[in-house]
Structure formats: structure tokens, C-alpha cells
Symmetry: C2
DNA sequence: CTGAAAGCGCTAACAC
DNA sequence: GTGTTAGCGCTTTCAG
């Protein structure tokens, strides 16, 4: 491997001079600078960033951990994070925890041993607390994305789960629905709890009784959920509309309904949190509360780099990004 | 930062002994091993992989460069790559070139300076040759994904662009269409050229004349393509069906058609390469040649690690993974 | 079984 | 302007 010493020897200077040329630091005569640069070209020299990191105690790598790489919400978020990282001179070490605590733990170990400069972390759920504490014990700069974790203080970029849920449910109410089911993510996840709260609030504000039988806790990735669904459908007084707490749950519900011969929105209205990317472009069908996914990533990355570079106060900040209600055709007026 | 020396001192051994405990190498008495392990726990020690990489000349990081993180084909591929990397003990440094040569070059520089162990590379197009040569000059293990690049010899995992295109077009022919447009990716990209060849082959085999006016070269990411589309529609003898060379082009075409008040498949049949992920789950509409995206990633990663660990012959291998024709409802019988 | 010395490639601090 | 020295945290080699 070519090192600065190889360059130094061939250019008749010391390694230090080469280092200075590479980093544009210190004063160097134009003559030697040119000579060194030329030798570097000739030998196709590329600096070894491991060696650099070792001495500088800085990797210029930021780790991004998301929970589902196939979900457009997270890929758009990743793009935002990546664009911003790149613009500010950082590389992205990317990980996908698959909503799985064991995988998440593996990534945390890796993050620590790689000595990345900071972590953008979308937690799997409340059980991520241990992993986050581990990071904090090592003073790893940290920004939480999309979900909060009880007991963890850190900069956090959240969506307006409660508010968004309230508006989705009020939309259904305005269409005349009174029996509205909630198919939710795991109770272990802050967004699921908040969406539940928003759901209840909307009902209460509109004097619609809350019925626990209409509320299901599932898992944000569970596309298929036949049993849960037929449970709902076989209620004495079944729902006429479904609020799915995220895009995958909505798709699962719609597939399930179709399997039972039911059509959306004719036989059942469906709305959900998170837009669908391509799917909505092709077929603007689902009524959703769309979150500014790109901004989650770009703002989170911005905050993280602020912290890494010491531009943040000590107090952790939290922001709640608003979602946008996009009314399409998956929810219709209740037939009387 | 806690180092092996801190551990060593506290455990009354030498750094070397600590290193041996960490790596399970050499012979160590159970007593000292236990003692060292306990101290490591107490101090929350995590090895510094930069220091390790520096001496071992191995990072256990593999770089994956894709061209579009919002395309389900690539995210599924990424998942395959990631799962396999993780299983085999490698980390993934992830990059997104956005079908952009300048971004691609930046990533190549980064890859080189990070001294990753190898690169899984989905090239932007023929212009990637310079970047690939740069990698090869540095003996960087390399596997090409999805696209070939003239002049570059390397292990390559490809889809059956020609064959898949032929089958899609023959499907349209079997429905009675004779005027079939091709909306293609850039001529600079091997898959686009191959899909063009397959298109021509299908026509020839079925004695349908080839008309250059029906063939458009665009860009795989160009969702909107109004001018190109109206050009086609205003032909003296306009097409009755469109073969879009990938999923995004198909969606762009369908949106464009709708903007003109045309319905798919009633007024125009549309088929394309690559499935749509969520979109197809929600609404199985587009007739496509679906590629085994996950396998692109997992097989490519497997091959790459084989090479990194010296388990490959010198000869570069190429595999062509078959696609699957999935007939849905976006293409219909030609009305006579 | 355990330790001391040297070096991976680079840069900060200090000479000259 | 440029060079020397030392050390970042770790492992290899060779002694004991």
C-alpha cells in the first residue's frame, strides 16, 4: 500500500510535508507543493482514513440505524440523512434493525467499536433503552428519530402522532363513521401509543363512545393479519372504518379485507399514517397523514452534526414535525 | 477512551494478554481470562476497530453503492446484501449515487480512503468505467450489480434484460398489439440497451415491423416525461401499448397518460421491468417482469466475500438471474 | 502460559 | 518552510 512515506521519499521531502500538502495546513512553498502533488498523482495515493481516525479521534462517519429498509418512510428519511451528511462532509454507515432488538444490539456494538462520530437512531421501541444507555455511557452523540424512548434524554425528531391520528379519525367521523377500528403498532412503541391517544381524543371530542374491542395492537411490519381482522369483522357491531397506524398495516388490512370479499371504500373505509411512495404515485388511493420523511433525516442529521461539532447547548431539543392530511379515495361517506 | 492498557493495568496483566482474551487466541489460563473479562465488563470496554484495521489491514467493512435508494428494486437488493454481510461478519457502508457520475466519483474516493475490504457496485452507466478502473488499480475486490460496463472485467450479477424484455413484448403481441412503444432508460446503461435488443427480437420473431419513432431513450428515474409521451401520442399511427424499461418510467408514463385523459389499460396497455414493492401489494395492477432483487444483493455479497477471503478463482464470473413475468391488469386485449 | 518491543499510517508539537 | 519525535490502540513476533 502506498503511504505518505513513499510519497515523501520520491518527492525528496519528509512525511510531514506530505501530510501538510494533503491537509492544506501550514506554510509550504509552491514548488514543493506541486512536486508532492504530482508524486501523489503518479502513485495514485489515497490517504488511509483508519490511520487518520486513530490519531485524530474522529472518523467522519455517522451511523444511521433505521428499522425497516423496505418502508418508503425510512428510505426517504435515509435519503434526507445521506444528502445532509454528504453536504457536511460525513459518510454514512448504514444499518437496518428490522424492528428487532437483537439486531439492534449488534449494531450498537458495531457502532461503538467503529468509533463513529455520532448516531442517528430510529429505535425499535421502549426496549431500545438499554442500547441507548450504552451509547450514552460512551458519550456517543445521538439523535433519536421518529420514536421516543422513556428514560432516554436526547435530541429527538418526532412526528405529530397524536395530532395526525386525531385528524385522520375526525376525517372518518366527518364522513359519518361511528364504529372506527384502530389497527395499531406494538404498545412498546411511542408512536403507537400516541396514535392511540389521538384516536381516543377524536372520539371524545365528538361524543363517540370508545370501545376497546375496536382496538388492536399488532406490529408495524405485519402486513398480514387475518385473525385480527376477522376478529373485528365478527364483532356484534362491526366497524365501518379502519384507522391503520402505519402504511404497512393499512396494506395488510386492505389485503385481508379483499380476501374476505370486501371492497375499500365501499364496504369499509381505510385511512392510515405515512404515505406510500411509489404506490401513491401510481394510484392515489389511500387517504393518509403523510409525514415529512426527508426532513426527519435531514434535520436529524443537521442536529447531530451540530452536536458533534459542539454547536449545541447541553439541553436536548425535541421537535415535532407536522404531518399532512391527504384525502384520497380509500375512505368514503358511510352509507346509511 | 478505555484501551487495552487500562484493562491490562487493572487486571494486573500485560496488554498482550488482554488482546489474546479479546481474540480468543493463544493459550491463557482460565483464571486470568476470567479476571480480564470481568475488568472489561466493569469498564465497558469496546475494542477500537480503527486501530485494529490499521494493523490487520482489514476493516470488515463492505461498501454497497446503489443508484437509487427510493427504488424498491434497490432497497430489496440492499436488504439481501445486508443480511448476507451481517451473517458473514461484515458491516455495510452504504452509498447512494442517484444515477449521478459526480456523486459516484465521491463515493469511490471515500471507499478507497476508508480501505473497505470490498465493494458491491451498481454502476450508473458506461461512464462508471473510470471509477471502476480506479478501484481495480487499487486491487479493490469488486462485484458489479445489475449493469455491466464495457471494458470492465469483474464478477457480475445481472438480470435477464433481453429475455425479460422479449417476454414482456411478446405478451403485448399476444394481446393483439402491433404498435408497441418502448420508453427506455439511458442508452448509456447496459440494461437499457439489452431491453432494446429484446424488444426488437420479439418484434422480429413475430414479423412486426420495427419503427424507430416508437422508441424513446429517457432516464430510469424520470418519473415525468410529458413531452416524450405526447410525442408518441401524436404520431400518425400512435402506439396502443407501451413497454416501459423500468418501474419508474412506467409510473411516469401512466401519470402522463392520465394527465391526457387516457386510461390504462382501456386506452393504452402498459407493461414494465421491475416490480413495485408496496404498490403492487396494495394494488396488483402493473404487468411486470419482476427481478429477484434480494438475490442480486445476497448472491453478489456472497461472491464478493468469497473473493475477499480468497475463495474465488481468478476468472471473473457472471450470472444472469431470470425474471418472472407477472401478468396483472395493466395490459389488455387490443380492441379491434 | 505471559510479556516486551516494534510497527501499522498518520499528525500534533516542537525544533531548526 | 521543513524536519524530528512521539504516540493514537492494537497485534505480530519473538523471548522467557
Amino acid at each position: 500500500m502506498i503511504t505518505i512515506y513513499d510519497i515523501a521519499k520520491k518527492a525528496n521531502v519528509s512525511a510531514m510535508t506530505v501530510s501538510r500538502v494533503i491537509n492544506n495546513s501550514g506554510k509550504i512553498s509552491d514548488a514543493t507543493r506541486q512536486r508532492v502533488k504530482q508524486v501523489m498523482e503518479e502513485l495514485h495515493y489515497v490517504p488511509n482514513s483508519n490511520a487518520r481516525s486513530l490519531v485524530l479521534q474522529k472518523t467522519h462517519i455517522i451511523s444511521l440505524l433505521i428499522t425497516d429498509i423496505t418502508n418508503p418512510f425510512y428510505t426517504t428519511l435515509a435519503r434526507g440523512a445521506e444528502d445532509t451528511a454528504k453536504r457536511l462532509g460525513y459518510k454514512l454507515l448504514f444499518g437496518n434493525s428490522d424492528e428487532n432488538y437483537a439486531k439492534e444490539k449488534d449494531y450498537v456494538d458495531m457502532i461503538l467499536s467503529t468509533r463513529v462520530d455520532g448516531v442517528l437512531f430510529a429505535p425499535t421501541g421502549d426496549g431500545s433503552a438499554a442500547h441507548l444507555q450504552q451509547l450514552q455511557k460512551h458519550n456517543m452523540p445521538l439523535v433519536l428519530l421518529d420514536r421516543e424512548v422513556p428514560g432516554i434524554q436526547a435530541d429527538t425528531v418526532l412526528g405529530d402522532s397524536k395530532e395526525g391520528a386525531r385528524r385522520l379519525v375526525e376525517h372518518l367521523l366527518s364522513l359519518g363513521h361511528r364504529r372506527i377500528a384502530l389497527i395499531n403498532g406494538s404498545e412498546d412503541v411511542s408512536t403507537a401509543r400516541q396514535r392511540h391517544v389521538g384516536y381516543k381524543e377524536a372520539l371524545k371530542l365528538n361524543d363517540v363512545p370508545y370501545d376497546e374491542a375496536l382496538v388492536l395492537y399488532a406490529n408495524y411490519r405485519e402486513i398480514q393479519n387475518e385473525t385480527a381482522l376477522s376478529q373485528l369483522l365478527h364483532l356484534p357491531d362491526p366497524p365501518t372504518a379502519i384507522f391503520a397506524a402505519n402504511n404497512f398495516l393499512a396494506i395488510g388490512a386492505i389485503q385481508g379485507l379483499r380476501a374476505q370479499g370486501l371492497q375499500v371504500p365501499d364496504d369499509m373505509s381505510v385511512v392510515c399514517f405515512d404515505d406510500l411512495g411509489l404506490a401513491s404515485a401510481l394510484n392515489p388511493f389511500l387517504t393518509v397523514a403523510a409525514q415529512p420523511a426527508y426532513q426527519f433525516g435531514s434535520l436529524g442529521m443537521q442536529w447531530l452534526i451540530d452536536r458533534i461539532e459542539g454547536r449545541s447547548q447541553d439541553e436536548p431539543r425535541t421537535i415535532i414535525l407536522p404531518s399532512e392530511l391527504i384525502v384520497r379515495s380509500s375512505a368514503a361517506k358511510l352509507k346509511s
